[in-house]
Every structure is written in structure tokens, then in C-alpha cells.
């Protein structure tokens, strides 16, 4: 079967689905959707369809990125666009199906928007939502739209595998030239020119070459790659086959985190379908080019995201980095020339070959072309996976797309680049996001994690959190990384416990610079960044901990204290019942009192106190506790 026939078959199948008489129900079935309740919602839908004797087609799609509204369900009737409904629970299903499928009421009150051609009165297009409108979807174009387990859906939509079919008719050099012209840079974080990287590996002597897809998305707080692999695995795989042909690789590996089981399942399905369609294996699409792919599951080591460590891990060894040079492009897996790219880089390459370099390069800034996916999470109102043209300001992302800070609190900063990155303060809100400007501001692009922080985030605690991560993940090869990160962690721990010394900041800075210089790989080379950038932008918080023994964000347990406001306490015992250490005394109708010596500062009392009462308070330093009764006294009897 040639590619044209394949495309016709795919379109026939897709059109049959789109034009079917039976209604179609699309379920957002990525890991995020499932954890938000998609599985229970699916059960409810199937039960209800059976009960009402409705024949509907259920299609499981990936995540469209508006994760905070999950679980998402789209319902489509013949000749009408899909209607997307969010935050559904099994309880909502019987009524919704009855209203729309039987009584033809599309429930505009519940709908988030429509998808596809056509209008439905009272419902806007989904892409008009403030979270989606500013986005440009090149890489995520299929996520949430197609069934990721059906290769025909990929082929029928947006030119799936046409990039590969086109590439196989080109000379490898021409492909590399096109990638170079597009301006694509490595999406794993380093931002190296992808075309140039491919060129190095192509030019390396040898007939046996390898390519690897780095899907070991280890940055905590980042899930762009998971979402893409779960929602549109073929886009990544198409990019890999194109790259393999351009480079002259004989075999490829996908190194996927073991924490992503659903991505692994979908990749396996996709690979099987590719082999059946002659898009993988011997003589791909009759071109004479042969290539195959193997999945390697990671085993939980952050350092394996580093190229040489990943190679060691694929070879069955401890994942420890090796000095470069030699670079993997000349001596990588099994000592052969090897090219490693991130998931998103491979998917971008497929998009470039499908649509042309100019369609990609028209987005972005002078040096950072194209679009980039980010996981927008933390204390932001609308969390999810987004794709924007590079050059968009942080403000537009946080306030426009993200809808500002959760619960209308105050913006404090944004953490980008994971444990290798840094924290940007409010003054950085107007910088345009690209590789250069982020690094000028002291952070990095990284793979795309974007964690928004509000005033309840303690920057010393956050720096300590990252150092505890890198200290645990350091492979131990380089002394500065192994010992240095532990020492930095200990100093930060002291500061967070009020035991900081006046020269600690200087010591952290000095140690940080030494770790950067004395480490072989990027893990150590960037590990001090979260500390150095928080010192640079939030030094006042360090000072408050060290000089005043106070945690301004009221997070560091050794410093903070809880007390019950005697003027507000109604003596309901809700807090006392939830206190696991019996630190709260007071019978019913008595003002409760916290025994500071017993309190472990777990904060359960704040959760337990009824919102309208709000009697439990937190202070950054125990000296800030106002005068309260020493022992429980009857409610209403307190006067200062």
C-alpha cells in the first residue's frame, strides 16, 4: 500500500466516524483526565447508554490541555460540531445524555464550547475560551481531537505521516537544511540547533548509527511530554523516522519514564500500527530505507535525562554521565554515532516536514523560532498544558492564559526549568519568553515546566526543596555535585529552621559557583540555580529567616506558629478533633487553646475550623502571636 492509498483509507474511516448517524462521545482519556474521574464518567456513560438503549460511538482522545476543567467529555450529533463539557461527575451523566441525545437540548449552561465546523446557538467555539484563545497549536494540534490509539485518525488529520512521505522523497541533506531553516532548537532545555545536531551525527563516520528520543521527563512540575505521548504518539514517532532517515540511523530507542505507563502503552500500540502500515521496519514506504524502534523504560533516575547517562542506562548500566567529548554524535550508544532529541523536538520536526519550515518559523522571536509547550501549574487559576509562540510575555501567559493567581492572591514569581532553572520575580513579568531572555533573567527555558508561585510560597523552602531533589538525584560521580549539593541543602535547612548564620548567603553563593564549575554534567552544573536565583531576586526572604527568625510566607515549620483567635472561636471542637497530637484543649463552648509545646504545625486545625468562623491563624514567628488565654475559658468571655 502506498501512502496515497493509506491516506484515502484513513480519510474514509475518519469520515465514516464524523458522518455516522449514531452520536459520538469523546472522552479526554489522558492520565490527568483519568485521575480527575474520566474512568468513572465513562462507566456512567456506558451504563446510561445501555439503559436508554442508545447506540453511540465512544472515542477516547488525549488531553486538550484545559486540565483544570477535567474530566472532559465531548458529545457530537450528526452534522453538528462537538460540544465540550467539563468537570463532569457520574451523577451529571444521566441528565446530560437525556437532555442532549433524547430531547435535543445541548445544555448550553454546562457547555464549555464547540469543536469543529458549525455553530450551536448559545455556545461559543471552545478555542474562544480565555485559556485557549491566545494559544497557537502546532505540536498539540491533535491532542484531545483524535484517538491516539488509531493511526488512521493521525493520518486523516493535519497531514499525519505526510511529512515522512515527503522526507523520503528528499535527500537527507535537504531535510537537514529545512530543519535548520526552520530555526528549531532543542526543546529539552539546552536549545541547541536541531538541524546542526542532526548534521553532526550524519557527518560522523560509520554506517551504524542510532537515534534516541528522550522521554525521561524528569523535571518535577513538567508533563508536556507525557501529554503529547499520550495524546498524539504518532507525531513524535513520525519525527523520529524522518530524523533517522536524515541522519542515516539504523535503529532508534525511546527512553520513557517508568512513571508514564499510559504513554508506554500507547507508544507500543502506535509502533505496532506503524509496522503494519510499513511506516517502520524494512523498506519503509518502498523507499529502500529500513529502520526500527525499541522502547526502553527508565527506572527512576533523574540524571538519565543527561545524554551520556541515558546511553549508559540503555546499555544496562548505572546511569552515570561520561565526560564529553567524545560527544554522542561521534561516539554514543555502543560507541556509535548517536543523536538524542527530546519528545517535543521530534514532534516539531514532523510538523516542519508536514507543513514546511516557514509555517513553523513564522512564529517566535529572532533567535527562538516556533511554538513551545509549557505545563502551567502551581498557584495559577487555570492549570494545564499550553502551547504558545515563543516571545509571548510571562504576563500574558500567567494572567491571560492562566487567569491570574489562584484565589486572587498576590503573584510572587514563576519557577521555570525545573531543578536546573530559576525563579523569576514580578519584575520579570514583561519579559518575552525565549531561550536568551530567560537566561538573561537568571532562569532557563528548560523543557517547559512553569510553576506559578504566590505569597504562600516560601522561597527558602522552595530552594531547599530543589536541593533536596538534586542531592538525592546526584549520581555521585563528581565530588562537588555529590558533597556540594548536600552541603547547600544543610545550609538551607539551617536557615529554614532559624539557625542561619550571617555569612550563609555568601557561603551558598560561593558553593553554588564551585558546584557549577566542578560538575561534569548539567545536573550538577545547574543544581545551584534555584538557590542562586532566589538569593538574587528574593534576598529579603533569606534575610527575614536569618536575621529575624521569621518565615514571611508562613511555611517553615520551625519558625511559624498557630494560635486560635479568642474573639472568633465558637468552641465547636472541630480543630481539637482533627489535632493528632492533642495539642488543642477546650470543651464545647470554651475558647480553644493551642499548647505550643505540643503543636507539630501540621495545619490540620486551620482546615478543620469552619470557613465562616476562621478562628485559627498562622504567624511567621511565634513572637508574633497576640495575647490569647492561657487556658480555655467560656466563649464570649474574652477581653484583652
Amino acid at each position: 500500500m502506498n501512502f496515497e492509498q493509506m491516506k484515502r483509507n484513513a480519510l474514509t474511516e475518519w469520515n465514516e466516524l464524523e458522518n455516522s448517524d449514531a452520536p459520538r462521545i469523546y472522552l479526554g482519556y489522558a492520565t490527568c483526565g483519568c485521575s480527575a474521574g474520566a474512568i468513572e464518567v465513562e462507566d456512567a456513560i456506558r451504563a446510561e447508554l445501555k439503559k436508554k438503549n442508545i447506540a453511540a460511538k465512544i472515542v477516547k482522545v488525549g488531553c486538550i490541555g484545559i486540565c483544570y476543567l477535567e474530566p472532559l467529555v465531548d458529545i457530537a450529533k450528526k452534522g453538528r460540531p462537538r460540544i465540550c463539557y467539563g468537570r463532569l461527575t457520574p451523577k451529571d451523566i444521566p441528565k446530560l445524555l437525556e437532555d442532549y441525545l433524547i430531547n435535543d437540548n445541548p445544555r448550553a449552561d454546562l457547555a464549555l464550547g464547540t469543536l469543529g465546523n458549525g455553530n450551536i446557538e448559545g455556545i461559543n467555539n471552545l478555542f474562544e475560551l480565555p485559556m485557549l484563545k491566545p494559544q497557537v497549536r502546532v505540536i498539540l494540534r491533535n491532542c484531545g481531537m483524535i484517538d491516539p490509539e488509531n493511526i488512521n485518525h493521525y493520518i486523516a488529520n493535519g497531514g499525519g505521516y505526510s511529512g515522512l512521505a515527503r522526507a523520503l522523497g528528499m535527500k537527507p541533506e535537504e531535510i537537514i537544511a529545512e530543519i535548520k531553516k526552520s530555526g528549531l532548537r532543542g526543546r529539552g532545555g539546552a536549545g541547541f540547533s536541531t538541524g546542526t545536531k542532526w548534521q553532526f551525527c550524519r557527518d560522523a563516520p560509520g554506517t551504524e548509527k542510532y537515534i534516541i528520543c528522550n522521554a525521561d521527563e524528569g523535571d518535577p512540575g513538567a508533563f508536556m511530554n507525557r501529554s503529547l505521548l499520550e495524546g498524539d504518539p504518532h507525531s513524535v514517532l513520525e519525527g523520529m523516522v524522518i530524523g533517522a532517515y536524515a541522519i542515516g540511523a539504523t535503529h532508534g530507542y525511546l527512553y520513557v519514564r517508568a512513571e508514564y505507563p499510559l504513554a508506554i502503552v500507547r507508544l507500543n500500540i502506535a509502533l505496532e500500527q506503524m509496522r503494519k502500515h510499513n511506516l517502520l521496519g524494512d523498506n519503509i514506504l518502498g523507499s529502500g530505507f529500513s529502520f526500527d524502534l525499541t522502547i526502553k523504560e527508565g527506572a527512576g533516575a533523574f540524571v538519565c535525562g543527561e545524554e551520556t547517562a541515558m546511553i549508559a542506562s540503555i546499555q544496562g548500566q548505572r546511569g552515570m554521565p561520561n565526560p564529553r567529548p567524545p560527544f554522542p554524535a561521534t561516539s554514543g550508544l555502543w560507541g556509535k554515532p548517536t543523536n538524542i532529541n527530546n519528545v517535543e523536538t521530534w514532534a516539531s520536526a514532523a510538523a516542519i516536514l508536514q507543513k514546511g519550515w516557514d509555517v513553523f518559523a513564522k512564529h517566535g522571536t529572532e533567535k527562538s523560532k516556533g511554538t513551545k509547550t509549557f505545563s502551567l501549574v502551581g498557584k495559577v487559576a487555570r492549570t494545564g498544558l499550553i502551547e504558545v509562540p515563543l516571545g509571548m510575555t510571562l504576563r500574558k501567559i500567567v494572567y491571560g492564559i492562566g487567569g491570574g493567581i489562584l484565589n486572587n492572591k498576590e503573584f510572587k514569581g514563576v519557577q521555570t526549568g525545573g531543578p536546573s532553572g530559576g525563579c523569576l520575580p514580578a519584575t520579570a513579568l514583561d519579559i518575552q519568553i525565549d531561550y536568551e531572555r530567560l537566561s538573561e533573567a537568571g532562569s532557563i527555558m528548560g523543557s517547559g515546566g512553569m510553576i506559578v508561585l504566590d505569597n504562600d510560597t516560601c522561597m527558602v523552602d522552595l530552594a531547599k526543596y530543589f536541593l533536596s531533589f538534586t542531592k538525592n538525584e546526584s549520581c555521585g560521580k563528581c565530588v562537588f555535585c555529590r558533597e556540594g549539593t548536600s552541603q547547600m541543602y544543610e545550609i538551607l535547612k539551617d536557615i529554614s529552621e532559624g539557625k542561619g548564620k550571617h555569612d550563609n548567603i555568601e557561603l551558598l553563593s560561593e558553593l553554588g559557583m564551585a558546584i557549577k564549575d566542578g560538575s561534569l554534567c548539567a545536573l550538577g552544573g545547574t543544581a545551584p540555580n534555584p538557590v542562586l536565583t532566589t538569593i538574587r531576586h528574593f534576598k529579603n526572604e533569606y534575610d527575614a529567616h536569618i536575621k529575624e527568625g521569621r518565615c514571611p510566607a508562613k511555611i517553615c515549620k520551625a519558625l511559624i506558629a498557630f494560635y486560635i483567635d479568642p474573639a472568633k472561636c465558637i468552641g465547636c471542637q472541630a480543630c481539637a478533633k482533627k489535632c493528632s497530637v492533642n495539642a488543642i484543649s477546650g470543651d464545647r463552648k470554651m475558647i480553644h487553646v493551642i499548647d505550643q509545646a505540643k503543636c507539630i504545625k501540621c495545619g490540620n486545625c486551620i482546615d478543620a475550623c469552619p470557613v465562616k468562623v476562621g478562628a485559627v491563624n498562622k504567624v511567621g514567628n511565634k513572637k508574633e502571636i497576640p495575647k490569647v488565654p492561657e487556658k480555655p475559658i467560656p466563649t464570649g468571655s474574652w477581653s484583652k
Binding site: 480527575a36 477535567e70 518535577p220 508533563f223 544496562g316 502551581g378 492549570t383 522552595l462 482546615d607
Partner: protein
């Protein structure tokens, strides 16, 4: 050797048959064995070493490097609490503390009745629903200490 380990070693031998005697298969092999046994037992290490012609030391060297491998028997249910950055800033630590207190074990420990094991995980990639915890294969999002305790009690009730 107790009768239990004979049965176990049979299962492991069946897994071994699926892999070439190539050192590069060590990690996938350990993963498969752990999937069946729940952990990597000393007996399994011996069998694997024999199959791949590597020393037990070498196997422990590789296996102990990766967070995924465990060398003690896990509980019936494994609770993993995510402490990725998004979960951290949204209170994942408090969820973990409450579970630790509820089960009276620390992370990386198993209850004496082998019902629950507790682990902390760097990131599950469900950051938009932070804080997250996973029981066996099921992911629970938007956790609070109270919700976490409630879910634990459901699992207690199931057995």
C-alpha cells in the same frame, strides 16, 4: 530453601527465558521480575546473575542506582505520594505527613501487616491536578489531608 522460594524461582526462570543472555537486558529484566514478585529478592538476583553471566554485586550495583527497584517485600497496596514542584507548592508534603501518621509508617516503609507500603515520588506528571497521590495504579488528584485519609480507609475496607 523454603517451598515458597522454589515457586518464586520458577516464575523468575520463566521470565528469564524471554530475554537473551545480554547484559543490556539487565534493567528490563529487573523490571519484569519486580512486576511479578513485587520486589527484587536475593534469590532472583542469583538467578538473573546466572542467566546474564554477571556477578550479584554488579546487579545490586545497577539496581540500587535506580529509584524504581526495591529489595524488600511490598505491602498489598502501594501508596505513592507525589512531591513534584506543583504538588510541593500546593501542599503535597502535608498529604504525605497525614498518610504517614495514619499508617504509622514513614516513606519507604511497609505496615507490619503488609497491607500498605508508602513511597514518595519525584513527579507523576499530573501537575495540573496537584497535589496528587497514586494507590497501586489509580491516580487521585486535588488531594487534601482529609481526602487522603478517606481514600486510605476505603482501601482498608476493601480487604
Amino acid at each position: 530453601m523454603c517451598p515458597g522460594s522454589v515457586v518464586m524461582s520458577e516464575k523468575v526462570k520463566n521470565v528469564l527465558k524471554q530475554f537473551d543472555r545480554d547484559k543490556s537486558n539487565l534493567i528490563p529484566l529487573l523490571q519484569k521480575v519486580q512486576k511479578i514478585e513485587g520486589y527484587i529478592s536475593p534469590e532472583s538476583v542469583k538467578e538473573i546473575g546466572h542467566h546474564l553471566n554477571v556477578s550479584e554485586n554488579y546487579i545490586y550495583g545497577v539496581a540500587s542506582f535506580y529509584a524504581q527497584f526495591r529489595f524488600t517485600r511490598p505491602g498489598k497496596h502501594t501508596i505513592k505520594v507525589c512531591l513534584g514542584t506543583a504538588c510541593h507548592v500546593r501542599g503535597g508534603e502535608r498529604v504525605l505527613e497525614n498518610i504517614e501518621e495514619d499508617l504509622k509508617i514513614k516513606d519507604n516503609e511497609t505496615t507490619p501487616d503488609y497491607k500498605f507500603s508508602l513511597e514518595r515520588v519525584a513527579c507523576f506528571g499530573c501537575c495540573a491536578l496537584a497535589p496528587v497521590m497514586v494507590v497501586d495504579e489509580k491516580v487521585y488528584g486535588s488531594m487534601t489531608p482529609a481526602k487522603a485519609r478517606e481514600i486510605l480507609s476505603q482501601y482498608r475496607g476493601k480487604d
